[in-house]
Symmetry: C2
Subunit: 432 residues, 2 copies
Amino acid sequence: MAIQPPRGTRDFMPAVMIRREYLIEMIRAVFRDYGFQPMETPAFESWELLSKKGGGGEAVKDEIYYFKDKAYREMGLRFDLTVPLARVVVANPQFPKPFKCYQIGKVWRYDRPQAGRFREFWQTDADIVGSQSMDCEAECLALAVNVLSQLGFRKFKVRLNDRKILNGVMEVAGIGKKMEADVFRVLDKLEKIGPGEVKKELGRIIPPRKARTIMDAIGKSGSPSSMLRDSPGIESSTVADEGMNELRDLVGKCKTYGIGKYLEIDFSMVRGLEYYTGPIFEIFIESERNVGSVGGGGRYDNLVELYGGKWTPAVGISLGIERIYDIMESEGMFDQPKTRTEVFVVAVDDSVRKDAIMVAQELRAKFANVETDLMGRDMKKQLAYVNAQGIPFAVFVGPAELKKGRFTVRDMKSGKEAGLGLVQMAKRFGKG
Amino acid sequence: MAIQPPRGTRDFMPAVMIRREYLIEMIRAVFRDYGFQPMETPAFESWELLSKKGGGGEAVKDEIYYFKDKAYREMGLRFDLTVPLARVVVANPQFPKPFKCYQIGKVWRYDRPQAGRFREFWQTDADIVGSQSMDCEAECLALAVNVLSQLGFRKFKVRLNDRKILNGVMEVAGIGKKMEADVFRVLDKLEKIGPGEVKKELGRIIPPRKARTIMDAIGKSGSPSSMLRDSPGIESSTVADEGMNELRDLVGKCKTYGIGKYLEIDFSMVRGLEYYTGPIFEIFIESERNVGSVGGGGRYDNLVELYGGKWTPAVGISLGIERIYDIMESEGMFDQPKTRTEVFVVAVDDSVRKDAIMVAQELRAKFANVETDLMGRDMKKQLAYVNAQGIPFAVFVGPAELKKGRFTVRDMKSGKEAGLGLVQMAKRFGKG
């Protein structure tokens, strides 16, 4: 029998989970700081819903976990948290606007598993539904900057672009609506395969002259101040012009939020998912491990309408746990212990086993994280377990200690000992 | 297009999610108090693994979400958190024992949806792997009592039984191994259909005389002191005797843990899942809403071996979020606000919009949960939103306030106002 988890999925053991929990709890805390409210949807959705995302259709079936339930309903595991959110908004038109919500949960994609790419992974999303103002984009980005800063990152960039600028470029280059998705799919590979290869691939699906026009227009990135002065080559497009104005507005608002220095404009940035309609963004951490973007998002004003709701503007940002974790791990940024247990209560002999349990219960009542022996082990073996687990403190309960009402507390790292009563111990280790 | 979640699943909107988060965070905190470490496994597992649970086989296929992935691997969404844990233990024999871990996550069962019964729901499990001592059972039960007490429950019962006693009863009644599972399945309905119906149903699959023997032996429940004195009708079974001794040992240990008063022995209690080998338990809350057990568990010493590992004793307890939530909701035990936002920063006119954002950012930096206008609304409409959302405080930012460096803070419930500077506000609302 296979004892490994299914291909592309992972088990998370305690030492890793403690770090993942820290990461998720930190992100959740910042979501709350910004006034986002929690929301949750099922792991699977109807195939009808999942397949409707911009131009996806049957092709989506190859990229997701698709199945029929026992009533032959077509279903799929969700591949993101935005599509379910759009369904919820359609189903609940009564929510006061803006509807600000966060979602933290697993999503599934049937990708080829490779380094840093999994079939099951966690996403943490914050969305603002109901407002057309660039304040929303700025707030989502401020939130992301805040998360990364609080996690200890110093060097990262927020890359901005606007779907309207990309659409304008298509217009100027004379690419019809039908070809757009294909062109964007090639452009999306820029980071991976470089401009030379992209141009070549474009040349295979559109005339080389058009490919050149596109590459000239988008082949630039830099600081907002230099990039937003003018948009060379696409002045003739009204929609691109609109996009430029959106970015100018957004950059100004980001400055108010105190995050101007992180911004970079990159006209070549296309985001994979096709539901975006305005500003799009991706967040990159500068690190030895080049893991690509650790998060991104954008404006998707038409998605709710696509699912049958009233036209509803919306913006969202998604932060990926897996890549952030990888960078923090490889840069030694975690300082979580490998166990959450703070204290092990040692029964020094068999006569005091009950007392050891009672001491443990006392400390737990004060919200200290406590273990005690569950194996009938002698003192030596109990201490071996304490060391194997990396539990930082041992409290010794023995007949003499019980008589005095003071217990020896040993710092397992330094070996230093102190005699403490129950009340002092509860204060020392307790959280409440 | 269907805008409802798939049959048997649910969307959780913010007001409900805030309560669910509270519930889950409380349970997690108690798991940590008891020295359990976090663990996580994938949402789906191989069909081979899922079907192997005691006597399940093909029948399991009807009760779970079964599918083939694109490489024709047979898969299923997990139906509990214990089977994946057993796989993890097989895959990681090196873990120091006892291995104490908790899991909090979704599981899926293809049941007929009905009141309080869903196809997707959360479980919170704590397990102790590697010890045969009844200390483990006692600790799991103390943990459950602790969770319920901290959530505010006063009246609840822990019902105990032991698989060995049930096996002894089968032995005495002359029920062969092959029939046992069928008999247990009927006994499991006792609470639902009553002893008369159970006897009738048993009579259909075994001789009435045997049915009577069984019903006489198990038709008793009561306090440990009365129930453990002797086990009428099953003295002749060594295995039942062993079960009685386990329960005596366990009851004694529970007293040390301070939870003796919650115990009740019920010889008729069978738990649905078939991997248990020793003590089993279920937790019942006394409430108007008779929702059945809110949690349970037991000893499953053979499961790791069944999956190809070394024989490894283990005990676990599982608490169900859904039923606990339902009771707390119907008894008015939640006092969570309907929004997590504490403060809304009001821009009194358009000239101070940037300043309002900066004030909001200052408060967020101190870990207060803050919203500000994202819709370009006037003051009146901003306050309408504050009221619609139930945000408890509004901070007014206007030209005069900015000049003074003091802002009017309004308690939205009482209408009381106070003038506070930024530092005071941060202290008032901040968490850090």
